[in-house]
Symmetry: C2
Subunit: 200 residues, 2 copies
């Protein structure tokens, strides 16, 4: 199990930096410091590794959302907290960072990824639906469309940040995103901004 | 000049579909239907071609923004119209579509792209600054941060749409984005939504 984790992490670092086509199995092997036999025991191809990195990133999203949803805060606050913690994970965790890049590199793979952004969108739609059900979502906002926008904005912010200065300013970008978006999501009169900065 | 255009368009189609590393000069040659000599007369390497595609995409953004700004509509409406027309260009113009993908593929190039998203952000910041100067921007909104969010959301929406169903639903995604964002950008009390659908 430790070998698998070491390989996944090494693959995350390599994919985050050089993308799918710019990474070779021997790059990953070298970074992971494991034997070729050990690597191929866990992953039979570079594509299988890339899909495992994406699966790990999706699992991280689900885990973050579940943790925030369990806190019994208003659902909109759980959405903000989930995305804010995810932005920090993009900075600190190469597997999460690589997941974003690999998902964006559709066309590089032999087999298609199933619903590459679907699970992120589902998780946020559920929370936003709960917000709507409890009257905490503005009339103009649709849970599914809002979730799609949030996922697109997060994906784009990660890619822009990466291309510009590395992922270092992603949390500030996500905070600025919420400053603007919350006004659109909250019901009229609710001008209370839930600033990510104040969340643990 | 017609050869250069044919090569750029063929390169756009290939890069949009397969990315920078997944495209070869011979793919482009085959699509363009020009001789190898003609191609290399205009572009000495695949990287030079990719940078030319990105430059053409940036020029398209500037042209759209200038056209909309010249209409003397409220600046915020010019922002909405520019992004809406750009979303349609992503659908219809492989060079624009490829530009988005190539810019996102930083790390694949020998030399860095200069300010890959900077020009898009500058163009929108200027328009949003004009909106602010004429009292048409809400107090909570900052022109530069709003421009960064819009560029990130557009980039992300393009990548998500491409990975999911191709760019076919991008204009609807951009419209949904504005539904939510405009509430955050407009001053209090301005609940008039400038729907992209109604723009020419």
């Amino acid at each position: 199990m430790r070998t698998r984790e070491a390989v996944l992490r090494a693959a995350g670092e390599a994919f985050a930096q050089n993308g799918f086509l710019g990474t070779s199995m021997s790059d990953i092997l070298q970074r992971a410091g494991v034997t070729k036999g050990a690597l191929y025991f866990h992953f039979s191809s570079k594509e299988e590794l890339a899909f495992a990195v994406v699966a790990a990133q999706k699992a991280a999203v689900t885990r973050l959302a579940e943790e925030e949803a369990a806190k019994e805060v208003p659902p909109l606050q759980a959405v903000v907290a989930t995305t804010t913690r995810w932005a920090r994970a993009v900075q600190s965790d190469p597997v999460v960072r690589a997941g974003v890049r690999l998902v964006a590199e559709q066309g590089a793979y032999q087999r298609p990824m199933s619903r590459p952004y679907g699970q992120w969108e589902d998780v946020l739609t559920q929370l936003l639906q709960r917000a709507q059900d409890s009257g905490q979502l503005g009339e103009g906002a649709n849970p599914r469309e809002a979730a799609e926008l949030i996922v697109a904005a997060l994906t784009g912010a990660t890619i822009v940040a990466q291309a510009t200065h590395g992922p270092c300013d992603l949390p500030q970008r996500v905070e600025a995103m919420w400053q603007l978006l919350l006004t659109g999501l909250l019901p009229d009169g609710h001008k209370v901004f839930v600033l990510p900065r104040t969340l643990s």
